[in-house]
Point group: C3
Chain length 403, copies 3
């Protein structure tokens, strides 16, 4: 009960429109409550089908203490399992990615099928029931080639996300995409500070010159309205989805299409295209497709590449960032694109943000830190914080009714 009383008090004390109190960023009890109320309940972006194009291709995703195996089945379906053998608990897949016709535990060679069922356990007694010892399953949803998992047995309904996202993602044809580059960062910050950072452009003008040179209005000094109006007509003509999806009520996903600055073809430091158009795209006029699925997924796609960001908390003060850059499978490195040109825009912009997020955390550690007022322009941060607090309130209620 003690943890829940502390949480309830913190939640009750929150002043709408102001940043969160210190314990939300530093306290271990709050972090553990977040694991229950959010991270082990909601849908988490794991990767894309381009990570595992063939049957038996797998990758692992570590969410706090849980390593998850995501593996492609024989018919192209995607399975996810807890990476812990049902014999004595060993990790089964030791690498971040690989290919395996069967999942064989390296300790005593128990053999599991791609769907997680135990198919062989040598030297076990005759009455041992293999059907009782399959890998613990993890729920999976795939939409437009994007793989989401939930560590809950009873996660929120994913249908609306799938329905809303499909028209946006279909033209990218993820089944014909490839992962061109990946990069990971370990940040000394709280995951919510990354989420807050990526929900406002109050900081963009001074902090992100490269980003502002590509996106009209990001500097908060220009209006993007006119350009948007023009482009929207074009996008509709080209058959591109334009119905933005806002966060509302208790939803947890978001989609927006917005224009690049006129003359800018891609998210690149020089404004030129970085690769051939992806999937069904014929030109470089798709603008930017921005997706967010709380709590861990951000994506920005332009006509010629997709950039995905996966945010994973390892503790109150430690957050992993995993970035991926996807291009069309037909794009040939050296001929159609170079890794430097493809990746430098988001490497530069991302690394600017990691520093801001780490500085933000270090300042919040001060004994005199106190919540400050969000600027009007930070309204989407307020919405994120409200969403977060409502999830935490639900979590407190659930914990109370469970005990």
């Amino acid at each position: 009960m003690k943890r829940s009383i502390k949480l309830k008090k913190l939640l009750d004390n929150y002043q709408q429109g102001w940043s969160l109190e210190q314990p939300f960023y530093l306290d271990n009890d709050v972090f553990n409550a977040e694991l229950d109320a959010i991270w082990k309940k909601y849908w988490l972006f794991a990767g894309t089908i381009a990570d595992i194009p063939k049957p038996g291709d797998y990758f692992t995703y570590k969410v706090h203490n849980d390593s998850i195996i995501i593996i492609r089945g024989n018919k192209g379906e995607v399975f996810a399992h807890y990476n812990t053998c049902r014999h004595r608990g060993s990790l089964i897949c030791l690498e971040e990615k690989g290919r395996a016709p069967k999942l064989v535990c390296p300790y005593h060679q128990w053999v599991y099928d791609k769907d997680g069922s135990l198919v062989n356990a040598r030297l076990m007694p005759d009455d041992f029931d293999k059907s009782e010892h399959g890998l613990h399953p993890v729920k999976v949803e795939v939409t437009g080639g994007f793989i989401f998992i939930s560590l809950s047995d009873n996660p929120p309904d994913f249908r609306k996300v799938a329905d809303d996202y499909f028209p946006f993602l279909a033209p990218y044809k993820l089944e014909n995409a490839k992962v061109a580059f990946k990069k990971s960062y370990e940040l000394r910050t709280n995951w919510k500070l990354v989420a807050e950072n990526f929900r406002e452009c109050y900081h963009c003008g001074p902090a992100h010159p490269e980003y502002c040179s590509a996106v009209i209005g990001a500097n908060m000094k220009e209006s993007a309205a006119e350009v948007l109006q023009e482009r929207k007509v074009e996008w509709e003509r080209s058959g591109l989805a334009v119905n933005n999806v806002e966060f509302e009520n208790d939803s947890f996903h978001f989609a927006i299409r917005y224009p690049l600055r006129p003359g800018v073809l891609s998210y690149s430091t020089d404004g030129t295209a970085v690769a051939i158009p992806m999937g069904d795209h014929k030109d470089y006029n798709a603008g930017v497709l921005g997706l967010v699925v709380l709590p861990n997924f951000w994506m920005d796609a332009v006509s010629d590449y997709m950039w995905t960001m996966r945010v994973t908390p390892m503790g109150p003060s430690k957050t992993m960032i995993d970035l991926a850059w996807l291009v069309d499978k037909n794009a040939i490195e050296g001929e159609h694109y170079t890794l430097e040109h493809l990746t430098e825009f988001w490497k530069i912009t991302g690394e600017q943000d990691w520093k801001l997020c780490e500085n933000n955390f270090a300042g919040i550690e001060s004994s005199r830190y106190q919540p400050g007022p969000y600027a009007p322009i930070e309204i989407d941060v307020v919405k994120f914080v409200d969403w977060y607090l409502n999830r935490m309130r639900d979590g407190v209620l659930e914990a109370a009714s469970a005990s």
Copy 2:
């Protein structure tokens, strides 16, 4: 009381024949209870007299927070002391090994004799009683040259271990042995997973090709019975001890002699001898002498060398492994043996095991880890677990009666 209630519940819930529940491997309260019930009560292997052949030779052994000085006395006796000065607590011996006619604290030069008595404390007042300020003693037992210590004032009786081991160890003549090589490893695993690993060969076939090539039956595909029968006759003829010692009731030691594969002379990757026979051994026919003293000692000796393993927990997730290779004092490096040939068998085999133990731990960290059934062939692991649980149950009872 809270810790003991948690422990009691865990102990009561244990399902015989299954692996332990997660808290036994991860929880700090369990770990602290283990310190009391096992590590600060039972006998711990520290090293051998070959580590400290001459008066004043010493080495230090760090057991959790306690550094222990083990020092050879003037008559060859072995003393052990807590490495903390009775003045202001400083460490006295700063190195892992050395030689000292007296133990002098490096801070204010209080001087202790090898037996721990304070012999000089400069500038202390006349009424200062040196006899009240000797080093805190640690109990010591030596059998066949093997040094065991206990951090308890009232440790279990060691006599049976000494009696059982002496005939096995005497032919090795430890007083004429030397330490040829030492190597330490810090593992991210729980100490019990190392203990479990070293009590079963269910994993040996696929994991240890080198080991299986030296030991008949280790692959679980052959019978060693016939070869054992033949060799036993030879061993008895040669005067070698053959009365294996099983764990029984509340005992904590074990001894076995078993044959090498015919044609294999030593624990080496090529099956050839690695050094001259040790002590009284005249040939390479002694097979393997395997000793275990719970909780921290494993030894495998062949005719020409001894390999000792000391396991020391530094926390639930951190375990130190200290290996030593001993050969006859008359064996000359470069002439009778090379370090590579001597050590590669157990370096390779040990490092295979460290990986398995670390993977096992990492998988047990999963929120979905649950105890699994030991295979019938893992019966000795079950015995270890039962021994462990009984010690923990005794510890809970003792703590209850003490409070």
Copy 3:
């Protein structure tokens, strides 16, 4: 209440004249109580005006979780602020030192004046009250160019320190001094063991040959009385302050002037001068001026340089040491001094001490550590411990009356 009961018991159990019990050095609750009773209440040496000679020059000082900005104002005054933006808490100054006409938060560019007042917060609503959002102030006192801060709103009176120190420090003319060198160390020890180490010379003879060669009597084998008598007359003739300040009652500062060994001109390994005399000093006859302000400041000044030591605890087992060497502004490196000659005396002596303090801590971690008797010659350590315990007793009383 639980923490305070534990503390009260520990404080009540203390045996006068003996070293502290283990929890005083290792326990997190004790450490947190120290933060409240001492570190966030008393005056802490931060640096000197020679660190920030010009308006806008600043440095940061990290005290446990709090980063503090110390900045020079336009009129030469010194301000100190908590380094956390009033908007969303980000660190404002990211570097250890720098120069800034205004303090601009790197996240969203809120702009603060040197005195901490918020002068600009772009895009905030019209009714936003800047005067309510200045940086949280930290109290500052400067005496003789030495900057002390207090994290308390109600710190002890500093006047007596200022009055007592001014005559000692005035001749050094800090406004004409420069910082020649700085060096920091992170020690695995408790801060009180550093404080104890620097209050006794029981260890000096064997541990500090260089120090003993410069200071008569430090080896505890000679008397300094005669030399002191002679020099005192000279010092008074030269107008140098000679009225030593002892710790008394609840005071927290100390000053002493004592002679160097005849023929020794400076704290140097060869006894020669290392630089030109500082400030008003005309020769090398000032002896040593030693200052201590508990809990974090030690200084030893000779005629030609000052050496300051700042001690900062980051946890029970982690202590930062920051050293600075100051010389006259007119001293030219290469011509009047070399860094090696200037710094080697205290680098050598300090590093000898860090090892002693770390060994002391490591030995106190033993489960068998128990308080030992201080030697009569360690009387000043006893005084420090008594001062410390009284502060902690006051803290327990205050915490009780506050709850």
